[in-house]
Amino acid sequence: MKIDDSCIRCRQCIPYCPVAAIVYDGKKDLVYVDQDECVECGVCMKSEICPVKAFIQPELKWPRTMKAKWSSVVYVHPETNIQGRGTDEMKTNDVTGRFRPGEVGFALELGRPSTGARFGEAEKLTTVLARLGVQFEPMNPLTGFIDTETGRFLESWFGHALDDEFRNTKVMTFIIEFKVAEERMLQVIEAIRRVSREIDTVMSVGLIVKCDGSGGIPIKPKLDKEGIRYYINGKTNVGLGRPSYDFDLC
């Protein structure tokens, strides 16, 4: 996103940017978009706060195209044909059977909340996770960038180099999705905690588990015993999806 010469320096747009990329330079009396920080989410333009419509959306080139796609809520990733930054994860588990009894799903969303993240931060985690033998979610668009054996970024993706410029590209958020056997959950949590001290952003950490026959949450006792804190709120799939996945076949 850029601001053209019609800008009247009213600065009303500045608070609208979720990553504080709109800057006022008092010495030059100039309002501009910091191109490195901007994640191309388009909130500034869509808010219609600018009284003179000074925001302009230039045509984007690789890897900047990734900013717009990964900051979009509605973009359908062509390699997975899935809308948004992640998958349906547990939301349709009653139909897909993606998470089965005895498995724990993880969703690590880097850059969330209110921070943004550069793609290179993902590799710090995926390399460690690959060594632990986690099963990366194949339908997650970020998985498409990595060699799931090593956790390193591929050299190229659809003809585009996954180089340092790509690694330094900042987007709103991205999600690392994977699952492990329940008995390895604590080991993986500990590894993630270690890497979290090295990343230059924040991440929101989510766990997914199929409930037991009485609707109980089977991993709770382990989390409680280890003193791993979790929020009192979260998402509950109430099991109304059809056709139902037959978990008895697992």
């Binding site: 809520v73 349906d88 850059g111 929020y231």
Partner: protein, 228 residues
């Protein structure tokens, strides 16, 4: 994605914050199987009709197409005139409620309607579980939050976080929250108007405008200092 997870707040505040989400699996084979069994467009419409009957504080529909777009109540769109008429077979729909009794009623109606979509409720686990029991349902799968890890020094203060985490897509700016608190404090706008302005930045409709108004009211009052 996980956009209705990781909502921050104390129990009292979260007791006014529940999101009911209805969707069909985004998997070609499963979708194909599901389509043979039912009219997906009709199911999505029925889901939203049920939600709208119980007076949500916000709601939204994302219309996937070659040029995807969305409509939400907070953006000023209306259900009957705009959202319903454009319902597509794979629309993603959700509604936000500020009262658990409404969620319970929605779940009962959804169970009776048997529309075949996966239904997810975001909210306080034990209370949602009780709603499931009341509706004769058993929870199937849960998504828990272990919170924020990493450079916590980069995130805003707690009460601002309570508001911005209601937009899991990250489109509600912390700076806009602070700007609007100042405007409320200076009586330029009301807290309700501030809640709507924040909600208008949210693309999917998951932002709880009523809870945001309450939190802004609290923060504006705190900033003014103790009353004489």
């Amino acid at each position: 994605m996980t956009h209705t997870l990781h909502r921050i707040g104390d129990r009292k505040s979260l007791q006014r914050d529940y999101v009911v989400y209805g969707l069909s699996a985004q998997d070609a084979e499963l979708t194909d199987r599901a389509l043979k069994k039912r009219d997906t467009r009709k199911a999505h419409t029925r889901f939203m009709e049920i939600c709208m009957m119980h007076d949500p504080v916000n709601a939204g529909c994302i219309y996937p197409s070659s040029n995807p777009y969305s409509k939400t109540l907070a953006k000023g769109n209306t259900w009957f005139d705009e959202m319903k008429l454009e319902m597509l077979p794979f629309t993603e729909n959700l509604a936000v409620f500020d009262d658990l009794k409404k969620v319970s009623a929605v779940l009962k109606d959804l169970k009776e309607a048997d529309i075949g979509m996966s239904i997810v409720v975001s909210g306080i686990f034990d209370e949602v579980n009780e709603c499931c029991r009341e509706a004769g349902l058993k929870r199937h799968t849960v998504n828990m939050s272990l919170g924020i890890w990493g450079r916590e020094d980069l995130v805003p203060e707690r009460k601002v976080l309570d508001i911005v985490t209601m937009c899991g897509h990250g489109l509600v700016s912390r700076h806009l929250v602070k700007d609007l608190i100042d405007k409320v404090k200076n009586r330029l706008i009301t807290a309700d108007e501030a809640g709507i302005r924040l909600g208008a930045q949210c693309v999917c409709g998951a932002f709880n405008t009523a809870r945001a108004s309450d939190l802004i009211k609290e923060m504006a009052a705190e900033d003014e200092g103790p009353k004489e």
